[in-house]
C-alpha cells in the first residue's frame, strides 16, 4: 500500500510539474501550433512571467514535495519496504514523466542543441564558428549562449549527434531527445552505482534526489555523462584484468573530454588508492573543484553538484555519512538558488547575495548539526 502511495505521489507531482514547466517556454519559441497547447501555454506563460511571487511559491512547493518523497523513498528502502523491482518501477515512472518537462530553470539544453546543429547540420567546426555568426539560424531566437564557441569537449560534441539526429529537425522533439539521451546515461549511472555498492539505498540516494531530477532529467545537463564515464573508469581501473584497465583509462579519458573537471581524478589513481579511499578522495577533489574553481569562472551552478554526488553515494553510508549529508544539504541549497531569479525576473541586484544565502544556510545548518552530533558522540564509532 505504501509502495503504491509513493508511486502515485511521484506520478501526480511529476505530471503537475511537467504541466507547470511549460509556462516557462521561451517567448521566442513556439513548440506547437495545436490550439489546446496554445491555450494552456498562454495561461501558464502569463502565470510564469506575470505572477512571479505565486510561481516562485509553486516551484518551492514542488521542491518540498520532491524532497519529502525522496526522504520517504529512502526510508522505505532502508527499511526494506521498497524492493529492487519497486525501486526500478518508481525511478522509471518518475523519469518517464519528467523527461517530457520543459527545461524551466536552465537554458543549457538549447545550447547543446544549437552546438550540435552547428556541427551536424551546418557542418561547421563549433570550436571555431559561433551560432551567432549565422544570423538566419532559427535557434538563435531561444539560445542564450549563441555568442560563444562550443563550451564542451569532443566526447560530448560527438555524442550529441545521436539526439540531434533523433530530433528530426523538430525543436520539441530534439529537446526531448536530448533529455532522453542524458536520462539514459543517468540510468546507466544508477546501474553502475548498484554494481559498485550492491545497495538499493545508494540508487535511491542518487536517482531520486530532486537535484538529479531537475538538473539531469528536466534540464538535461551533460554532467551525468562525464560522471558516469568517470565512475566506470575508476571502477574498471581497480580490476586486475588488463582489458578492464584499458577500458577504464579510455572511459576516464572520454570523461575528461566531456567537460574537463574529472581530470583531477588522475591524482588518486597516481596515488594508487582503491575502494572507498579512492572514492572519498575523488569526492573531495571534485568538491574542491566545485567550491573553489567554479565560482572563479562563473558561479556555483546546481548541476555541478552531480560531480561529487556520484562519489558520495558509492561509499557505504556508515563511513560516508558526512559526505552524503553534505551533498544532500548542497542539493537543497543549490536548488533553492533558482528562486531569486524566478521571483525577480533578473539575475542582478540582490540576486547574487540571495543565491549565496539560500545555498549557505542549508549547508551551514547541516555542518553545525553534524558537528554537534559528533560532539555529543552520537556518531562516534560509526565513522572510520
Amino acid at each position: 500500500m505504501k509502495k503504491l502511495l509513493l508511486l502515485a505521489s511521484y506520478v501526480v507531482s511529476t505530471v503537475l510539474f511537467v504541466i507547470f514547466s511549460y509556462g516557462f517556454v521561451d517567448k521566442n519559441l513556439v513548440l506547437s501550433n495545436n490550439p489546446l497547447y496554445l491555450g494552456l501555454h498562454g495561461w501558464l506563460s502569463a502565470l510564469a512571467f506575470n505572477e512571479r511571487p505565486l510561481v516562485t511559491g509553486i516551484y518551492l512547493v514542488f521542491l518540498v514535495i520532491f524532497f519529502v518523497l525522496y526522504a520517504w523513498a529512502y526510508r522505505m528502502t532502508k527499511r526494506r519496504e521498497l524492493r529492487g523491482r519497486d525501486i526500478i518501477l518508481t525511478v522509471a515512472v518518475t523519469y518517464g514523466i519528467l523527461v517530457f518537462a520543459y527545461s524551466l530553470v536552465s537554458y543549457d539544453i538549447f545550447n547543446y542543441m544549437t552546438t550540435a546543429k552547428m556541427l551536424f547540420t551546418h557542418h561547421e567546426n563549433p570550436y571555431i564558428v559561433m551560432p551567432i555568426e549565422i544570423p538566419n539560424e532559427a535557434s538563435l531566437a531561444f539560445t542564450r549562449a549563441a555568442n560563444k564557441v562550443a563550451l564542451y569537449g569532443p566526447t560530448w560534441l560527438l555524442l550529441s549527434g545521436i539526439p540531434h539526429v533523433l530530433g528530426f529537425g523538430n525543436v520539441w522533439l530534439t529537446m526531448i531527445s536530448f533529455k532522453l539521451f542524458v536520462t539514459l546515461w543517468l540510468i546507466g549511472g544508477l546501474y553502475l552505482i548498484y554494481k559498485v555498492t550492491h545497495q538499493w539505498q545508494a540508487v535511491i540516494l542518487f536517482g531520486l534526489n530532486p537535484l538529479i531530477l531537475i538538473e539531469i532529467v528536466v534540464s538535461g545537463h551533460n554532467d551525468i555523462v562525464m560522471m558516469v564515464l568517470a565512475l566506470l573508469g575508476l571502477h574498471l581501473l581497480q580490476k586486475s584484468s588488463v582489458v578492464d584497465k584499458l577500458i577504464g583509462w579510455k572511459a576516464l579519458a572520454l570523461s575528461i573530454l566531456v567537460k574537463g573537471a574529472t581530470a583531477v581524478l588522475i591524482v588518486p589513481l597516481l596515488l594508487k588508492l582503491k575502494g572507498n579511499k579512492l572514492y572519498r578522495m575523488s569526492f573531495w577533489l571534485l568538491f574542491a573543484v566545485f567550491i573553489i574553481f567554479t565560482p572563479l569562472r562563473e558561479e556555483l551552478y546546481p548541476w555541478y553538484a552531480v560531480w561529487f554526488f556520484l562519489f558520495a553515494v558509492v561509499m557505504p553510508s556508515d563511513i560516508a555519512w558526512f559526505e552524503q549529508g553534505l551533498t544532500i544539504a548542497f542539493s537543497i541549497g543549490l536548488e533553492l538558488r533558482n528562486l531569486p531569479y524566478m521571483f525577480m525576473g533578473y539575475y542582478a541586484g540582490p540576486g547574487p547575495t540571495l543565491r549565496t544565502l539560500l545555498t549557505v544556510v542549508p549547508v551551514g545548518l547541516y555542518v553545525v548539526w553534524s558537528l554537534r552530533m559528533k560532539r555529543n558522540s552520537l556518531w562516534n564509532g560509526k565513522k572510520t
Binding site: H122, H123, E124, N125, I128, V129, E133, I134, N136, E137
Partner: protein
C-alpha cells in the same frame, strides 16, 4: 513676431540639417579593420613550425564559415609578413609572402558562395571581407609608393633574379 518665427524656422532647419549631416558622416566613416601584429618571420626558429600549423589548421577549420575565417586570417597574416619584409628590403621573401596572401584571399569567396548556397546568411562576412579588402589595398598602395619598381636580387651563391615589384603589387591589388 515675424523675427521670432524666422529665428525658430532657422533653428529647426539647422537641427534637421545637422541630423541629415550625420547620414553623410556615417557614409564616410568606415569600420576600421585591424590587421594582426607580425607573426614569426623567416629566419626565426619557429617560423617553419608556424607555417606547418597554418597548413594543418586547414583541416581543423572545416566548414564553409570556418574556411572563410581560415583563409581571411592567413591572408591578413601573410600580408603583414610581406609588408614587414618589404620594410626591411627583403624583396624576394616579401613577394613570396605577398603571393601567399593573395592566394588565401582568392580562396575566401568560393567558401562564401558555398555557404550562401547552403542557406547561410553571409551578409556579415561579406562586409568583413570588404573591410579587409580595403585594409589590404591600403597597405599595398603604400608599398607601391615606398618600393622600387624593379629590383635585381643577387644572392651570394646563386644566379640573380629580377623582381618586378610593382607588377607583383599591382596583381595583388587586383586580387585583393
Amino acid at each position: 513676431m515675424e523675427n521670432r518665427r524666422n529665428k525658430g524656422v532657422r533653428m529647426v532647419s539647422a537641427v534637421i540639417l545637422l541630423f541629415l549631416g550625420t547620414f553623410f558622416l556615417h557614409n564616410n566613416v568606415f569600420a576600421s579593420y585591424v590587421l594582426p601584429y607580425p607573426s614569426y618571420m623567416p629566419g626565426n626558429k619557429l617560423y617553419r613550425l608556424s607555417r606547418l600549423i597554418d597548413t594543418f589548421n586547414k583541416y581543423w577549420y572545416f566548414g564553409n564559415i570556418a574556411q572563410v575565417k581560415y583563409h581571411l586570417g592567413l591572408s591578413d597574416k601573410y600580408l603583414v609578413e610581406a609588408k614587414t619584409l618589404f620594410d626591411y628590403n627583403q624583396y624576394l621573401l616579401a613577394i613570396d609572402a605577398l603571393h601567399r596572401s593573395s592566394d588565401q584571399f582568392a580562396a575566401i569567396m568560393p567558401n562564401v558562395l558555398t555557404a550562401e548556397q547552403s542557406g547561410d546568411d553571409m551578409t556579415q562576412f561579406r562586409s568583413e571581407i570588404q573591410e579587409a579588402s580595403i585594409a589590404h589595398k591600403t597597405v599595398i598602395t603604400t608599398l607601391l609608393q615606398t618600393t622600387p619598381n624593379e629590383f635585381l636580387w643577387q644572392p651570394e651563391r646563386a644566379s640573380a633574379t629580377r623582381l618586378y615589384i610593382h607588377n607583383e603589387l599591382s596583381t595583388a591589388l587586383s586580387i585583393q
